[in-house]
């Protein structure tokens, strides 16, 4: 039996929901840190950023659980070994950041001198990470975590650019159907370009 050449609906849904959320998070993150402190828009954006960020954490947990229990389609055998390795490492890095960034953000919030409670989407209270809010040198830790969150955002943007560039290369240059494996089933008008065999 040949393995499926496509990701299943759950994996595709989780991927694109995450993609949408991450783009929104990056946009909000850049805008909110540039706005006048204390403005109404800035405050709302921070609250939305927290809500969506924790949502990405939840989505990533689900994705990992799904990926570990549902084998993803294999990479085309036409790909050289180093490219396969690069793809694995790239995805590993993306997964790592999708875990690390929300956790870092959560830690930033938990150590904030403002001590603002998090209420996800204005409805679901999220406590601070245990132990962090009571740290004696909270301020220094907070600054460090903030720098980490910002560096992580830059790394994520870099890795996403590679991810997107690779997907487009697969589709338009290599024409090996790798991109189509992750395209939602609704738009499956075009037949798969190949099974990688």
């Amino acid at each position: 039996m040949t393995p499926s050449t496509r990701y299943d609906t759950v994996a595709i849904t989780l991927h694109w929901l995450s993609a949408l959320a991450i783009v929104a998070l990056l946009a909000m993150g850049w805008i909110m840190t540039d706005l006048t402190p204390g403005s109404s828009l800035q405050f709302s954006l921070y609250q939305w950023h927290k809500s969506v960020g924790i949502t990405v954490l939840a989505l990533t947990v689900l994705r990992l659980a799904w990926a570990l229990t549902h084998r993803p389609p294999p990479l085309p055998t036409s790909m050289p070994a180093w490219e396969q390795l690069a793809a694995r490492l790239g995805h590993l890095g993306l997964y790592g950041l999708l875990f690390a960034m929300p956790l870092l953000g959560w830690a930033v919030v938990s150590t904030s001198p403002f001590n603002i409670p998090t209420v996800l989407y204005g409805a679901l209270p999220l406590p601070h990470l245990p132990g962090l809010a009571e740290l004696p040198d909270k301020k220094a830790v907070h600054e460090l975590l903030k720098d980490g969150h910002e560096l992580g955002a830059l790394a994520l943007v870099g890795l996403l650019c590679v991810h997107i560039a690779a997907a487009l290369r697969h589709h338009f240059v290599l024409r090996d159907g790798v991109l189509m494996r992750m395209v939602p089933p609704l738009t499956r008008a075009a037949p798969p370009l190949g099974d990688g065999g």
Partner: protein
């Protein structure tokens, strides 16, 4: 909660006023009022991140001793359970009891104690007194209107405060950048004369 005029004192004053017609500065016969919590409201208003917000205290108590004929002898004590502050916004309601704000662990109650109401024309009065929030005592004069009808009193008033005068908003919050320093306390109170 302590009552200003205890029963023995009332009896003493009663006996004294019956025994003598001298114009001694003894207080007039106590006229205590019982606040109807269902029809009374004690609230506050402020602004955070450029947006106004309102809240109420759901648990508070007032002892009022007031004789319209002798407003200068009036006494009032309002005690507010600071843990009962509610704005309808979960985020604010979680933050308010914290150490930066009301610090309810160390200061569970706020208090306003007034001695002597000053008539300010018509139904208007002023109640000079002491306001205690977060353990910080400051003089405060509360303006209000009072309408008396068939043994029922309707008092409405508001008091503008600067929250940082009472340490409400510590650390970064002492700045007005995120939360306005000006806060208004409002009340609308219905009380009935105790028989």
């Amino acid at each position: 909660m302590s009552r200003f005029v205890s029963l023995p004192l009332v009896l003493f004053v009663l006996a004294a006023s019956l025994a003598t017609t001298a114009t001694t500065p003894t207080p007039a016969l106590a006229a205590e009022w019982t606040v109807d919590p269902a029809r009374s409201r004690l609230g506050f208003a402020g602004a955070a991140a450029g947006a106004p917000f309102e809240g109420t205290f759901r648990r508070w108590d007032a002892t009022i001793d007031f004789d319209p004929a002798h407003p200068e002898q009036a006494r009032a004590l309002v005690t507010i359970d600071m843990a009962s502050a509610a704005t309808g916004d979960r985020q604010k309601d979680q933050a308010l009891p914290e150490a930066d704000w009301f610090d309810i662990k160390s200061h569970p109650r706020a208090e306003f104690e007034a001695t002597g109401f000053r008539p300010a024309g018509g139904s208007a009065y002023e109640a000079p007194g002491t306001l205690t929030i977060r353990g910080i005592r400051r003089p405060a004069t509360l303006p209000f209107t009072l309408d008396l009808k068939d043994g029922t009193a309707h008092a409405v008033g508001r008091l503008g405060l600067v929250r940082t005068d009472f340490g409400v908003g510590q650390g970064e919050w002492t700045s007005p950048q995120f939360v306005a320093l000006e806060v208004t306390v409002r009340f609308d109170l219905i009380a009935t004369k105790r028989r």
